[in-house]
């Protein structure tokens, strides 16, 4: 009788250990799954942000960004000075061979082949045909092609403010519009 009772107790203990192990394993699995789901989310978010940062980085270079002359309520990030871009476009050839000496490098970064700034709102030409910005069409135009090389791979796109100085009745004010900066790389670092 005693043997049977102890057998029973051992069985009970074994069951308890198994059940506890199963329970703890499931709880652990759940924690791991939640953790991994977060990591996956963070990774995709970081990848997306990095891709966008490549375009934002170019938009925020001193050669393109809005300076102190613009009053944008404290935030001057993602703002491109339309006048600067137009001047830069005239002298873009000077920037082509500026780099570290590596053939893939240029002034804008490694492997940058194409930089385009496209007005999103308000659109000057509603017919869908792009009106390229030149000294003659400025500021009533839609697209500024700074570097117009081959578009390889997926271009990185970021929304920016395209700002310029306008004057009305001898008063100068900031005129900002919504635009997209599209940067193409032949190699994404």
């Amino acid at each position: 009788m005693k043997t049977k009772k102890s057998q029973m107790k051992i069985q009970q203990m074994a069951f308890m250990i198994i059940a506890l192990t199963v329970f703890l394993a499931l709880a652990g699995l759940m924690i791991v799954a939640v953790r991994f789901a977060d990591i996956k989310d963070s990774a995709s978010l970081l990848r997306e942000k990095n891709a966008q940062l490549l375009a934002v980085k170019i938009a925020n270079t001193p050669e393109l960004s809005c300076g102190k002359g613009f009053n944008l309520g404290g935030t001057k990030s993602n703002c491109i000075d339309f006048d600067k871009v137009m001047m830069l476009k005239q002298k873009i050839d000077k920037f082509k061979n500026v780099g570290t000496g590596n053939s893939e490098d240029n002034f804008w970064g490694r492997g940058v082949t194409n930089i385009e700034i496209r007005k999103v709102f308000p659109v000057e030409n509603s017919s869908g045909v792009d009106k390229e910005c030149t000294i003659g069409t400025y500021p009533n135009c839609d697209v500024i092609r700074l570097l117009s090389g081959e578009i390889i791979g997926t271009p990185t796109i970021s929304f920016v403010s395209l700002c310029r100085k306008e004057s009305e009745e001898r008063e100068v004010y900031d005129k900002c519009e919504i635009a997209k900066i599209i940067v193409s790389y032949d190699k994404v670092n």
Binding site: F23, S158, S161, D174, K175, E177
Partner: protein, 191 residues
């Protein structure tokens, strides 16, 4: 045991009256009842463990499903768009010049008018709906809809919506502190 009972019949009677089993038959019965009880306890415990495990699994599935459908409020694309939108110059002018969308939103909260007599809230709504309509076209596109909100604390002061709101969205939020109140400008683009 019989002999013991025979030897001491009084004790047996007392034990019986108290409900204690004294015979071997009774002891066996007691043991089998005890075994059955512990078996039932074990079964109960296992059942509870299984039940809790199943509940945990269901919760995990719900959590993972929710993750895949819930939008990302800090999406860079929508955030950058919202920054550009609030920096955009509107055609509402006051004595300080043309107002940006952000300034227009604050004027709307104060109930001000433009120099040409139009209400700032009307101009704001018009500017935002036109900008969103052009920037996020919904026809033959993956975007299913969008929602722009101007909120003070929890009260919505301006809402511009178009299309359908789904569980999958990207979005951006800008918050400002103004006169002790929190002002939120948010945008959601649904896919």
């Amino acid at each position: 045991m019989k002999s013991r009972n025979k030897k001491n019949p009084q004790k047996s009677e007392i034990e019986n009256s108290l409900g204690f089993p004294t015979s071997s038959r009774h002891r066996n019965l007691f043991n089998s009842v005890g075994n059955k009880k512990s078996q039932e306890e074990m079964l109960g415990f296992v059942l509870i463990v299984v039940l809790v495990s199943v509940i945990l699994l269901i919760l995990m599935m719900i959590y993972l499903n929710r993750d895949s459908t819930q939008g990302d409020m800090e999406n860079a694309e929508a955030g950058n768009y919202l920054t550009s939108l609030i920096q955009m110059t509107s055609d509402c002018k006051d004595y300080g010049g043309y107002k940006s969308v952000r300034e227009l939103a604050f004027s709307c909260l104060d109930g001000e008018s433009c120099l040409d007599g139009r209400e700032t809230c009307e101009v704001l709504e018009l500017e935002i709906s036109e900008a969103l309509e052009t920037s996020w076209p919904l026809e033959n596109r993956p975007e299913k809809g969008y929602e722009f909100l101007l909120k003070v604390e929890n009260a919505t002061r301006l809402q511009v919506t178009e299309g359908n709101s789904t569980g999958n969205f990207i979005g951006g939020v800008k918050d400002y502190s103004r006169g002790g109140e929190e002002v939120f400008i948010s945008l959601r683009v649904y896919y």
